[in-house]
Amino acid sequence: MVKNKRGFTLVEAVLTVALVSIVFVLGSQIFVQINRFIILNRTKIELQREARAILPIINSNLRQASVNSLIIDQVSGQPYYSRISFRRVDGTDYTFYQQNKKLIMTTSGTSQVLSSNLRYLAFAAPRSDDLTIVSVSLTLEKEITELRTKALHMASEKVMIMND
């Protein structure tokens, strides 16, 4: 009986290495794509969640505002109409404003950063002769450095102010 003790031939070894490397290259590329997609998607969802959390805070307080106390302007050097100040009917004062990439809420002398991903914030009163309607538009943006891209989420809602 003759035993085959030859092991790999060179050709076999080369072929195997080539095939394995092709599989690895393809596989890693797929993983990179998946990873990229997951990161982008996750960031989008984070932004959406953040916007979803912020808008009700602004809107529910704004809805309780007294329209006579309403001031729409901006912090010096910041985009137009990116600040809104009002007194709620219960006497509490609120200010929401943009400070660079931060969205800040100030109430009773304390400030709180609601978001650090601000791209656009505008409190648009459709008509300056009737401030009972304010259209709040908010865009959050986050740079994903490893992908050299940006995720965006825009949310807008109209709010009606019922109180004088």
């Binding site: 095939l19 989008k44 729409i72 137009y80 109409y81 660079n100 459709p126 008509r127 807008s156 809602e157």
Partner: protein
């Protein structure tokens, strides 16, 4: 001991790689599912936000200005028809979060009755409107929907301060009727359901009304009565119970030619042995057997001695067979038998093997060929149309061609023997078409032998069809509004003495004259003038009185033939006094229209299946009456949806014109028409030509006014007018000043739409930067502001003006590092007309 020292072979390596690759694919596959799930919850959240936002926008419209959807359109999603407004609040397409959403709005009047909301469609104001917003998006390949509904109440509703109350009684025994409905013809929302003790209360405004009480199984009763302020009027009703009877009959369908008779050998006077196969056409259409050159339908024969069916080549003398007519295929030109003579419609071709003796008999051809069968078939695809076979059980052989069971025969086919198809379950009746077909030769055929006694028929013979294939499970429904639809069931046991048939018993059919609908799959039959004249009567249909009448005296056989895949809507149309309107009122659904009877007020509308809005008197075709719609009427295949009833009051229309300057029309202004009780009775919006038409107004005096915001003015502010029935009254012109127009455009950077948001500001005064806004700016020059949408478009509403143009500026903040800078753009001399749109005010950076 041997050791394998070779290591991995190439094959092994490749298998390993394949396994790894499969694992990869699996991971990628599961990843897909996770992504889909994430996307779905994301889309749903966005849809919810969009729906809520629309609700906010609509609720900012003042109550009278919120228009009721006049005739809803329907959008099919998730298996339901979602109604929506395509006139005032048209569907929107919105891009948000990279997903395209469709947003539909539907607004209807509602009223509250015993804790439940009644959705009323378009009707005079109830003080409550229901807003339904539906957001639809595509998830993968299917559409998903999210729907929210909110009730908007009229802040200025005046309280109803008059009352009708009373009891609804059964006139026959004086007992109260619970669950009866009491309605006011003039106001659909004023209605009440009686309690278990038969009592009801309706609160309404003072006035004179027509009240109607209806209850299932009773004839409804209408009365006129009036009530003054702070008064309670007792109005009792005594309803006469409907008597009911039962409708019964049999149902058959016919969709193919049948073999109605076979004779293998009978000698004529000169001793020639005649043989024939006779066909009958029980359908309502003509069957073509040959085009004159090539056969279309052919004949095959096989004896118990043959290995396979043989084609009997034919010479076609007549090419077709008419409805209810026979077709005689024979081995000689003229058949004489049973005392009659008939010419053949087709002949055995002399080229056939064994001609003229093709169908074999015991005496002529021997015992082993006496069993057999014939069949007719489509030449194009060789599929059978109908078959009949006869056994030779002495030789333990069954028929070679047959349906379910060959005719039981010991000897087989003999000379002077014929197999004759039954006319109906009863057997052979001279003068009736022979077409009973339960798909079983042994019960469908009768055997006449030595001598034969059923004369052959040919294309000159026409006989009525009283049977066919039993239509088991056919749906039977009646429009009486009392009975419920039923289905036919099997009678008989399938034996020779008791063959199968399909019978129905439709119980609880109210006394009166009705239409009945019978349907099975694609076949249906309407039977009109079905009369149940007394309680407990059992009426066989069709009968001599119905349309169509019975096919033959004494045969209550419904023969299905016309093809129709839809269903029916039925009901009654009366005026506010409960009287039938003459000439008949037109009834319209999405897919058809008909007229109600001018004598009974009843209608039966054939329509495709689906969900419909049914309208009586559409477009006030009969100008003396208002039109009325009932939404959400479901139509099922082969059924009558009954009790879609209308009570129409007499009425007319108001017409007028809205202008911005006395010369140019002003579209989009809402007008409200209120009655003496300040209740809104009709609304309209001025069209592109400035004209408006408030339709469907019950006769009387009304005030019509444009619904304006605080900065708009109208001259005059309202017009009083009195409409007579059948009249379209031009009430005059409203000149409006200060109403809004629109500026629209796109915002782009580097040619791409800006999706992050741009602030757009317009004013008639000149400005560089938008001023701070507060209560102190309310009276200064007006600024109008809006944000661009995610798709890079914007709409800015400003007050229209023909004297002063607008300056429009855009502010686009961008970040350089962590600090924002604002890019700006501007237009001057932008003219905006009231009710107009000034487009293409685009900004690009």
């Amino acid at each position: 001991m041997k050791t394998n020292c070779r290591g991995l072979t190439l094959v092994e390596t490749m298998i390993a790689i394949t396994v790894i690759a499969v694992a990869f694919l699996g991971i990628i596959g599961s990843f897909q599912y996770v992504t889909t799930a994430i996307q779905f919850s994301r889309a749903r959240t966005l849809a919810n936000t969009l729906a809520q936002e629309k609700m906010q926008i609509l609720r900012q419209i003042s109550y009278p200005r919120l228009m009721i959807t006049p005739a809803p359109s329907y959008y099919y999603v998730e298996g339901v028809y979602v109604p929506y407004d395509a006139i005032y609040y048209t569907p929107e397409t919105i891009l948000e979060g990279g997903i395209t959403f469709k947003r539909f709005t539907f607004i209807q009047m509602v009223s509250e009755s015993a804790g439940n909301l009644l959705y009323l469609g378009a009707t005079p104001d109830t003080g409550m409107k229901a807003i339904t917003v539906t957001v639809v998006w595509t998830q993968g390949t299917t559409e998903k929907k999210l729907q929210i509904t909110s009730i908007y109440t009229n802040p200025n509703t005046i309280m109803s301060n008059a009352t009708f109350s009373g009891t609804v009684y059964n006139a026959a025994n004086g007992l109260p009727i619970g669950g009866a409905e009491v309605t006011v013809a003039e106001y659909l929302n004023w209605q009440a359901i009686t309690s278990s003790s038969g009592t009801y209360t309706i609160n309404l405004y003072p006035g004179s009304y027509s009240l109607t009480a209806t209850a299932r199984g009773f004839f409804s009763q209408s009365v006129m009565n009036s009530v003054a302020a702070n008064q309670t009027i007792t109005q009792n009703f005594y309803l006469t119970p409907m008597s009911s009877g039962t409708l019964t009959g049999t149902v058959w369908f016919n969709d193919h030619l049948v073999i109605s008779q076979v004779c293998g050998s009978t000698a004529n006077a000169s001793g020639f042995k005649q043989e024939w196969v006779e066909l009958f056409n029980p359908t309502t259409w003509t069957w073509q057997l040959s085009d004159g050159i090539n056969p279309i339908i052919g004949l095959k024969y096989q004896s118990t001695d043959d290995a396979a069916p043989k084609i009997i080549a034919l010479q076609y003398l007549n090419l077709s067979v008419a409805p209810k007519s026979y077709y005689l295929i024979a081995n000689t030109n003229t058949i004489t038998a049973c005392g009659i003579t008939r010419d053949a419609d087709a002949l055995w071709d002399p080229a056939n093997d064994g001609y003229p003796n093709i169908i074999k008999c015991f005496e002529d051809d021997g015992a082993e060929k006496a069993g057999g069968g014939v069949g007719i078939y489509w030449v194009s695809n060789d599929n059978w149309i109908d078959r009949v076979g006869w056994d030779w059980n002495n030789g333990s052989k069954t028929a070679p061609i047959y349906e379910t069971n060959g005719i039981d025969q010991n000897i087989g086919l003999e000379t002077d023997e014929q197999y004759v198809r039954r006319c109906s379950t009863t057997g052979y009746v001279s003068g009736l078409g022979r077409c009973y077909d339960s798909d079983n030769n042994n019960t469908d055929f009768l055997d006449f032998r030595k001598p034969i006694s059923v004369p052959p028929r040919n294309s000159s013979d026409i006989e009525p069809v009283v049977s066919g294939v039993p239509a088991i499970g056919a749906l039977v429904s009646c429009e009486d509004g009392l009975s419920l639809a039923t289905a036919t069931y099997t009678r008989g046991d399938g034996s020779y003495s008791n063959p199968y048939y399909a019978e129905f018993r439709l119980v609880d059919v109210a006394t009166g004259t009705w239409q009945v609908l019978v349907s099975s799959n694609i076949y249906c039959r309407e039977i009109s003038t079905v009369t149940v004249s007394a309680a407990g009567q059992i009426v066989g249909i069709p009968n001599s009185q119905t349309g169509p009448s019975w096919p033959y005296s004494g045969y209550y056989s419904v023969i299905l033939s016309s093809q129709f895949a839809g269903g029916y809507i039925s009901g009654k149309v009366v005026n506010a006094l409960g009287q039938v309107i003459s000439p008949g009122i037109k009834i319209e659904s999405g897919s058809g229209s008909t007229y109600a009877s001018a004598t009974s007020g009843r209608y039966l509308l054939a329509t495709a299946t689906g969900s419909y809005t049914v309208t009586a008197n559409p477009g006030q075709l009969n100008p003396q009456y208002v039109s009325q719609s009932i939404a959400g009427v479901e139509v099922y295949t082969g059924q009558i949806t009954s009790n879609v009833n209308f009570i129409l009051s007499r009425g007319g229309n108001f017409r007028g014109w809205v202008t911005r300057d006395g010369i140019n029309p002003l579209p989009g202004i809402a007008l409200d028409c209120i009655d003496a009780n300040d209740v809104s009775r009709g609304q309209a919006v001025s069209g592109a030509d400035g004209y408006f038409l408030i339709t469907n107004i019950t006769t009387g005096t009304y005030r019509i006014y444009p619904v304006l915001d605080s900065k708009e003015t109208s001259s005059p502010s309202l017009i009083s007018a009195n409409v007579a029935y059948g009249q379209t009254l031009f009430i005059g012109t409203f000149t409006i000043s200060g109403s809004m127009g629109k500026i629209t455009g796109r915002v782009t950077t580097g040619g791409q739409p800006i999706s992050t948001g741009v602030l757009i500001v317009a004013s008639q005064s000149s400005f560089t930067n938008p001023p701070s806004l507060s209560s102190s700016t309310l009276t200064g020059p007006a600024y109008y502001t809006s944000n661009s949408y995610e798709d890079g478009t914007y709409i800015l509403e400003v007050r229209g003006s023909t004297t002063t143009p607008y300056n429009v500026r855009a502010y686009y903040p961008v970040f350089s590092g962590d600090t924002p800078t604002t890019m700006t753009g501007s237009y001057s001399n932008v003219w905006v007309n009231q009710g107009g749109i000034t487009p293409n005010i685009n900004f690009s950076w």
